[in-house]
């Protein structure tokens, strides 16, 4: 009896140590966020007091108004949302179509084309940038949403991911549908695609995150301020308002809150989606 209770005690102590370590790590992880939010409500004077105050003496909502005055956040939001939504929807449609075909249909040349697509994954993204930029320039598309969206509609990674999910569906299902007289499109659209929802969720999340946060491509193709995304717009802020940190922090909060709110709501899906891309990829 004594041994069991001491064992239990040891387990409990272990658990406390684990929690302490995890809490310490979590604090280190979120300090920059907390400090950003707190600073965004301070006056310029208060933000530079030594020693620093933790909570703002008086909430300065004015910083947010000032941030919105210095940069067209409305346009940034619009561009980013349109860019993110179009790319995500495009990838879901095109990658599931191609993923299904590569996973479930046998046709001549399939393996060769698939290897070609996989080879795209091996190449660092910078290799494509100059030619993609030149295409957009030639088509007169610089500084447009189209330029932002177009190359990202097609994804080797997404095709591979969706193929893995379609491959996981049992063959019997397909054969039963075929006996009922379904053609490939019906099997793809009505029967299999509803079954790969976790895959679609994973793809949607990665595409969303990627677009919302991506920097180099938006920076290159859209240089006029009213066609910029939040990410590119924010990068101009760091040069302009190097000194007024509360306003800069307010601007940063404006840029990150939508993704963080989305993440808080779909936390489980985000995490599972990312985990599944890791194990399937």
């Amino acid at each position: 009896m004594k041994e069991i209770s001491s064992n239990k005690k040891r387990m409990q102590i272990n658990k406390i140590i684990i929690h302490l370590l995890l809490i310490l790590g979590a604090i280190i992880t979120i300090i920059p966020f907390v400090w950003m939010i707190l600073t965004s409500f301070k006056t310029l004077g208060e933000s530079t007091i030594i020693p620093p105050t933790i909570f703002p003496k008086q909430m300065q909502w004015e910083n947010y108004k000032e941030a919105m005055r210095t940069l067209p956040y409305g346009k940034f939001y619009f561009n980013t949302i349109v860019y993110t939504m179009l790319t995500t929807i495009g990838q879901i449609v095109f990658c599931s179509m191609a993923g299904y075909a590569f996973a479930r249909i046998n046709f001549k040349g399939k393996n060769f084309i698939f290897v070609l697509i996989l080879s795209v994954l091996m190449v660092p993204g910078q290799i494509f940038l100059i030619p993609q930029f030149m295409i957009m320039k030639k088509l007169g598309l610089l500084n447009s949403i189209t330029a932002l969206v177009l190359p990202g509609l097609f994804s080797a990674y997404g095709t591979f991911l969706m193929r893995q999910f379609y491959m996981g569906i049992p063959k019997e299902l397909e054969e039963a549908a075929r006996l009922d007289g379904c053609n490939h499109f019906t099997i793809f659209w009505k029967i299999m695609t509803p079954l790969v929802k976790p895959g679609i969720a994973a793809l949607a999340i990665t595409a969303c995150l990627y677009c919302w946060n991506s920097l180099m491509w938006p920076l290159i193709v859209n240089t006029s301020i009213d066609k910029m995304t939040l990410s590119a717009g924010l990068s101009t802020l760091s040069g302009q308002h190097g000194t007024n940190f509360p306003v800069a922090m307010a601007g940063t909060v404006l840029a990150v809150w939508p993704m963080i709110v989305l993440f808080a709501i779909f936390q489980k899906h985000f995490v599972e989606g990312m985990a599944s891309t890791g194990s399937k990829g």
Binding site: T29, M122, P151, L153, F154, H184, L215, S231
Partner: protein, 311 residues
């Protein structure tokens, strides 16, 4: 189009076998469904790759006109002192940040994998940097690192350490960037490791406990060997990611800073030549060199994996 007429021909010919019809049908739907992706990838990625390769042998500049100049860009890449400097910086960032972030995230994931309460809260907190845009991460950390008013220096002052202008000083800038790099990449790795850990059969641990193996012994004898495929995946992806680092340096190190030379990465150098100095031909050559480096490192990794990855 050929497939469609084939199908029609096929339909007219009632004697044809059902399997032949099925094959044509497969061919038609197969190509139709992959068409958008294949076309898009062919134009924007595969053709672009070869276009970039071609540009690397030209003097493509700001105005879109260019002529073939042979190996000149490549000769310049190897004689330009900026390239080895950027390479050294990139390698420094990679070899320091990748192992440290793998070890820390593996440690946190192991802690999270023990039966404890609040798992989803911890997961949320640790994953937060992974959903935050690099532009915002850079802004936050610039403020934390600020030489005069930054929180970091204020905290250091409390324990009697003199603060520095972390990202403006060539001595410290790379270290400061590495810390942000590690901090922002942990969440993703934790998620991958946690998924890997949850795939290890519980029976292994039960058997080990009966044999009297403690938690540390269990970690090295069960957890680590079972996790090698995940470690391999995370290592490959984070190596490639670190070798392509751009966002953080571009956003955190101001262009006039003394620390520019000691932090410039190979991709930043590529960006600078391509879109600031408008020497796109030369930038293409830099990107091809980076591609070669990544290719060699990945090939070595794939070769070495046989020695340590257990599938």
């Amino acid at each position: 189009m050929k497939a469609i007429t084939d199908i029609k021909d096929n339909q007219n010919n009632k004697a044809s076998k059902a399997s032949g019809k099925r094959k044509l049908n497969d061919l038609f739907w197969g190509y139709l469904l992959i068409l958008p992706t294949v076309l898009g990838l062919a134009v924007f990625y595969i053709a672009a790759f070869f276009q970039n390769l071609y540009y690397s042998f030209t003097n493509l500049g700001a105005f879109g006109k260019y002529k073939w100049i042979g190996m000149e860009n490549y000769i310049n890449v190897f004689s330009d002192p900026k390239v080895p400097q950027a390479l050294i910086n990139t390698v420094k960032f990679t070899v320091i940040s990748v192992p440290i972030s793998i070890i820390i995230s593996l440690f946190i994931a192991t802690l999270l994998n023990s039966k404890i309460k609040g798992l989803s809260l911890y997961r949320t907190l640790y994953f937060l940097p992974a959903v935050t845009m690099p532009a915002a991460i850079a802004m936050m950390w610039k403020w934390l690192y600020n030489g005069q008013y930054g929180l970091l220096n204020q905290l250091l002052a409390k324990v009697g350490i003199e603060g520095q202008a972390w990202i403006a000083d060539p001595k410290f800038a790379m270290g400061a960037l590495i810390i942000v790099g590690i901090w922002s990449s942990l969440g993703m790795k934790i998620i991958y490791f946690l998924a890997g850990l949850q795939g290890i059969p519980k029976a292994y641990y039960e058997a080990a406990t009966i044999d009297g193996a403690g938690p540390i012994r269990q970690f090295f004898s069960i957890t680590l060997p079972s996790l090698t495929p995940t470690i391999f995946f995370v290592m490959i992806t984070s190596l490639i990611g670190a070798l392509q680092m751009f966002d953080l340096i571009f956003l955190m190190i101001s262009k006039t800073s003394l620390a520019v030379d000691s932090t410039m990465s190979i991709v930043y150098l590529f960006y600078k030549y391509a879109f600031e100095f408008q020497e796109k031909g030369y930038a293409s050559a830099i990107s091809i060199v980076l591609f070669m480096i990544i290719l060699v490192i990945t090939a070595i990794q794939l070769r070495l994996q046989k020695k340590w990855v257990n599938y």
